[in-house]
């Protein structure tokens, strides 16, 4: 399911103009990372995708639906949203009930709910924690419960707001695995992240925002090579991209595989 955004402006009731003319299209099955400094408008933008916010002017269409004509509830089967802070979305007495809430609410029958819950728990490696109260889990695992509760809704579009914040290396690789699995299933994914190395290693397309505008939008390697514009979005290129540049690599590399490939080439020549 695709996302079309045209000339989107948004002003908060207090008068802060958070989005100033955003136009972009995300095709069905694309995985996009949104990066940029605190206050750039990243969260405000994705809240337009699930209809939590409606444009002050401009247009947002989700699979052809203009979001001003549909409620958040109507959009819910199309767009799942994992909040930055899991504690803002967890409320059930155990993990299984928590994860079942979304699909049940969307009207799946009990057999389908069971299948979706089982699948989401397996994907997030929570299968052995089904009866635990989410608040008895560590922050890392609560994050996984938040992920599972949205994955179980089986929406064609999934939004992750800062999925790696405060997570350790093991947990970040679990999040990366979840995104990979969803990609293989053809989901459209939007992820907001400050973790530029995570972004480089897991996404093909990157959008860099600053002050309510899109500064860069393109293939990951191309965007990450724009060091000066990235600096305006308060983002450093990934570690290996910077290292490649210092070593005089002509193209921007974004992960270890690409880095070593160029290194081998240079060494042979």
């Amino acid at each position: 399911m695709n996302i079309e955004i045209q000339d989107l402006y948004f002003k908060y009731p207090g008068g802060v103009e958070a989005l100033r003319g955003i136009s972009l299209t995300i095709e069905a099955g694309e995985q996009v990372a949104i990066i940029g400094q605190n206050g750039a408008g990243k969260t405000t933008l994705v809240k337009h995708v699930n209809g939590l916010l409606k444009p002050t002017s401009g247009m947002v269409r989700i699979g052809g639906w203009d979001t001003t004509e549909y409620s958040v509830a109507k959009l819910a089967p199309r767009v799942g949203y994992v909040f930055q802070n899991p504690d803002e979305q967890l409320f059930s007495k155990n993990v299984e009930t928590e994860v079942a809430f979304g699909p049940r609410n969307l009207g799946f029958d009990s057999e389908q709910v069971q299948r979706l819950v089982k699948d989401a728990l397996a994907m997030t490696r929570l299968s052995d924690k089904t009866q635990t109260n989410p608040y008895d889990l560590s922050a890392t695992w609560r994050k996984m419960v938040a992920l599972a509760s949205v994955i179980a809704m089986d929406t064609p579009i999934v939004i992750f707001d800062e999925p790696t914040t405060g997570q350790d290396a093991m947990s970040i690789s679990r999040v990366a695995d979840v995104i990979k699995t969803l990609r293989e299933r053809g989901k459209t994914i939007i992820t907001i992240t400050h973790d530029i190395d995570f972004c480089a290693e897991n996404f093909e397309r990157v959008i860099a925002m600053a002050q309510g505008r899109v500064l860069l939008d393109g293939k990951t390697n191309e965007v990450l090579a724009q060091e000066e514009i990235l600096a305006a979005t308060y983002v450093d290129p990934p570690q290996l991209t910077r290292l490649g540049r210092r070593l005089g690599f002509k193209q921007a590399v974004r992960n270890q595989e690409e880095f070593l490939a160029v290194l081998k080439d240079k060494n042979a020549s």
Partner: protein
């Protein structure tokens, strides 16, 4: 001389069976900048609470061993005496905001009011700390109207303004953008250079490697390893135990298998990686890569 001295510290939270900290021995010198790393659940936050006196004074539970800071022992002191020595910035800044103040300026003065600092001095210290932490433009905003990254700066400022001898920071940049993170690390480093002792819990390896004097790796409530950032982050024990390591280290380790990394030491920082890989690539200087390096823009703190 050690200003922080933990001897054989074991601590168990009430209502739990197994200790969160086990036989911790840790000394930190005055003015030293120590980073604590470890997987989630390793005991990092509990260690912060212990240094700040919340363990055992607030959380209760069972503490054995001795926690000595600036010459006094925590079990023999009150929390009121303790806060004058140790300041703790919480992992979640939202939990730290007093809720009793309408503006950031007042929030920053809150701690000083409580310890009876004269009004003029209080104002001057708040103005200075806002400048230092880059939040002067937020002075009149409500602490609750701020973004996560901004709240974290306020939380840090509200501790710095107390001028504690020991600064304890629990993931102080987790919600900040990368350049904000670098600025905050710069501020913390500056504090350490001015003689403040810093204990920092953090996952961001690249910045620890660049700024900290020493790294303590915790796992399952125990100290697994400690040493310089280079020693800890290039240790195979740390990688095998599920700690984050820098991309430079893992790329060099892989390159070494391919015969493309010659040095016996692995890199932790960008500079070390650039130097090592340049050598591997170009036995005969001057090389293209070295010329590029000298041409790269300066002042980026790398």
């Amino acid at each position: 001389m050690a200003i922080v001295d933990l001897k054989d510290v074991t601590y168990t939270y009430p209502t739990t069976d197994s200790p969160a900290l086990r036989n911790i021995n840790l000394q930190v010198d005055e003015g030293e900048f120590v980073a604590v790393i470890g997987p989630n659940g390793a005991g990092k936050s509990t260690l912060c609470y212990t240094l700040a006196g919340f363990v055992p004074h607030f959380f209760k539970g069972e503490l054995t061993g001795t926690v000595e800071v600036a010459g006094s022992e925590s079990s023999q002191s009150t929390l009121h005496e303790w806060v004058l020595n140790v300041g703790l910035a919480f992992q979640n800044p939202f939990n730290q905001i007093s809720g009793a103040k309408y503006t950031v300026f007042e929030e920053l003065a809150f701690g000083l009011e409580n310890i009876g600092v004269p009004r003029d001095e209080m104002k001057a210290r708040v103005v200075d700390v806002m400048e230092l932490t880059g939040i002067s433009d937020l002075a009149d905003r409500s602490p609750y109207s701020l973004s996560g990254g901004q709240q974290q700066r306020v939380a840090l400022a509200s501790i710095l303004v107390m001028q504690p001898k020991i600064l304890v920071l629990d993931e102080p940049t987790s919600q900040m953008d990368p350049i904000g993170t670098r600025e905050v690390f710069g501020v913390i480093r500056k504090m350490a250079e001015q003689g403040m002792t810093v204990v920092l819990v953090e996952h961001k390896v690249e910045w620890i490697a660049q700024f900290a004097d020493r790294v303590v790796a915790l796992k399952d409530g125990q100290v697994l390893l400690e040493g310089t950032p280079a020693e800890v982050f290039t240790s195979s024990i740390v990688e095998e135990s599920g700690f984050g390591i820098s991309r430079y280290t893992s790329a060099a380790r892989k390159a070494r298998e391919l015969g493309l990394w010659k040095s016996h030491r692995l890199p932790v920082t960008l500079d070390e990686a650039a130097e090592g890989f340049s050598q591997a690539l170009t036995p005969d200087p001057p090389s293209a890569s070295l010329r590029d390096a000298s041409r790269s823009p300066g002042g980026t703190g790398e």
